[in-house]
Amino acid sequence: MVPISYHLVLSGVLFTIGVMGVLLRRNTIIIFMAIELMLNAVNLSFVALARHLGSLDGQLIVFFVMAVAAAEAAVGLAIILLVFRGRETVNADELNLLRW
């Protein structure tokens, strides 16, 4: 059987890739994808820990997280679309109307 640490390390690596994606990429859609990667990395942790601890809580939590992520995607993509209609760009560096 694969030990729990493997899952946790994989989840940590995926989470870090997601964080790096948010910090380094400039296209807001890619940034949003990186955020989804972070959430799914956490889901992996929950499932692995649920199996390790022998409790169902972790698996149930994943359903909640997926539902929340779907709601976020609906709202987030709509906001990105709204910005694109007004500005014809979704590049984070060009969204600089608000700056002192």
């Binding site: 948010v22 807001t28 955020i35 929340v68 910005v83 007004g86 500005r87 109307l97």
Partner: protein, 482 residues
């Protein structure tokens, strides 16, 4: 056969009232004539008032519901009343504003109610996942609210920035929950507290706590997680800014304080160092940057960051000393900030926002009532006695001194002195000069908005002069028996 567990509906009642009102608004909006839309505001207002009254009637209960996932205790009810008052005041401020900026009232009021449902859930949650769900319910509604001024490009940009950074922070928050789940085997706060006191603390546990601090730090706008705040507060419609500055911050502090002061109370020594640094950074960054702001919404955004710093001092002071001071200061901060945004709304209108501090030149001479109200809010935010801002700061700093954080209190007082510069500047502009700026008119000061401003001003003065009732209420709410 599986018997369903008994459901304690009372614990959900305030949230249910708000949800049903929100749905009613959405459906009614479909059938009503466009010129009748103003009625939606009053329906929303009634919803907030009803939920607030129900919360007051439920006062004194101390129950747990849904298998230990929600609590119906004084703490949750205290915050319910805050959220309902903030929501009702926001509606009073929005009635006329929505027409001038052409925001669709149906969706706006419904989202305001749904965001408040999220806040109510956050304050009542005794399970990390329920806190997460409340946080997201609130945040997703507020992301949309921030972008509702469709004609203004800044508004959609603010919504996008808020959304991306908010979702980023909830990723950290969720990872923190996962690690705590791994370390303790549960996401329920009481079980985590038991595990913390009996089983010792693993490094997994500590990293989990640190990630939770990142998640909460973002929502309360603590430095260095505050960078989104000025942009979002400036870009969002002003009523939404007021709602975010007061409601969202209070909700985030409600969950933050329940988790850290109650659940992790036995680990105070582990996290007080981090929060100490955050508190000092937040106050200093907020106040110093506010000094150079020319736009009043941005200035109030930095001021709200600085106030998050003062509130963090109360967290550092710990459960027994800081808890009641935290609740009292949240109320104090709420009334004075809502009032200040109300005045900003009164002088602004479509195409002519009048948001520069220099626009306020001579305003106090031409509009004595509005000027007096703004003076009260600015002096109270500075912390001048006998206003509520002074009493609140006094309780926070004395809690810090009693808990042995002398330096923290000293830095807090120094920061208040710095903040006097930019708050008083508004007052000076209003009264000391007559010429030099635009001669702006308070054309948007309609009855509903003026009522909200006056209510906030009266509360600011009254709670400052007679603090004992609200202080004892805060004490009673913070320490539920058991």
């Amino acid at each position: 056969m599986i018997t369903p567990p008994p459901v304690n509906w009372l614990s959900l009642l305030p949230g249910l009232i708000l949800t049903v009102t929100g749905l009613l608004i959405l459906f009614w909006d479909l059938w009503m004539k466009p010129e009748e839309r103003r009625l939606l505001a009053w329906l929303g207002f009634i919803g907030f008032v009803a939920a607030g009254i129900v919360s007051v009637l439920l006062w004194g209960r101390n129950e747990s519901a849904f298998n230990g996932m929600l609590a119906l205790d004084a703490y949750a009810l205290f915050f319910n009343v805050i959220f309902c008052v903030v929501g009702a005041m926001t509606i009073l401020m929005s009635v006329h504003y929505l027409e001038t900026v052409e925001i669709q009232p149906g969706e706006y009021y419904a989202l305001l109610l749904f965001a408040t449902v999220g806040m109510v859930v956050m304050a009542a949650a005794t399970d990390l996942i329920v806190i997460f769900l409340g946080l997201e319910t609130m945040s997703i509604a507020v992301y949309v609210l921030a972008g509702m001024w469709i004609r203004r490009l800044q508004s959609s940009e603010a919504a996008l920035k808020y959304f991306l950074l908010g979702a980023f922070a909830s990723g950290f928050f969720l990872y923190g929950i996962a690690l705590l789940y791994g370390a303790t085997g549960s996401v329920q706060l009481d079980k985590i507290a038991t595990a913390a006191t009996t089983g010792g603390v693993s490094s997994l546990f500590l990293v989990g706590i640190a990630l939770l601090i990142v998640g909460f730090g973002f929502k309360v706008a603590a430095a260095p997680f505050h960078v989104w705040t000025p942009d979002v507060y400036e870009g969002a419609p002003t009523t939404v800014t007021a709602f975010m500055a007061v409601g969202v911050k209070a909700a985030a502090f409600a969950a933050f304080a329940r988790v850290f002061l109650h659940t992790f109370g036995s680990l105070h020594a582990e996290w007080e160092g981090i929060l100490w640094v955050l508190a000092v950074l937040t106050m200093t960054v907020g106040n110093i940057t506010a000094l150079v702001q020319r736009n009043i919404k941005r200035m109030l955004a930095y001021s709200s960051i600085a106030h998050a710093g003062y509130l963090l001092i109360a967290m550092v002071a710990g459960r027994d000393l800081g808890g009641a001071a935290l609740l009292y200061y949240l109320v104090a901060y709420g009334v004075m900030t809502l009032g200040a945004f109300g005045v900003v709304l009164a002088v602004g209108r479509q195409g002519e926002p009048n948001e520069e501090v220099s626009d306020y030149i001579g305003l106090g001479l031409r509009y004595p009532v509005l000027g007096a109200a703004m003076t009260v809010f600015m002096l109270s935010l500075t912390g001048v006695p006998p206003l509520v801002g002074f009493t609140g700061k006094f309780y926070i700093f004395s809690a810090a001194v009693q808990a042995g954080y002398i330096w923290l209190a000293v830095l807090g007082v120094l920061n208040s002195v710095i903040s006097a510069y930019y708050y008083i500047r508004v007052v000076v502009n209003m009264y000391m000069y007559e010429e030099g700026g635009k001669t702006i008119e308070a054309l948007s000061a309609r009855p509903a908005l003026v009522t909200a401003i006056l209510l906030a001003a009266v509360a600011t003065v009254f709670m400052g002069v007679f603090p004992s009732a609200s202080i004892s209420l805060a004490k009673e709410s913070f320490l539920p028996p058991g």
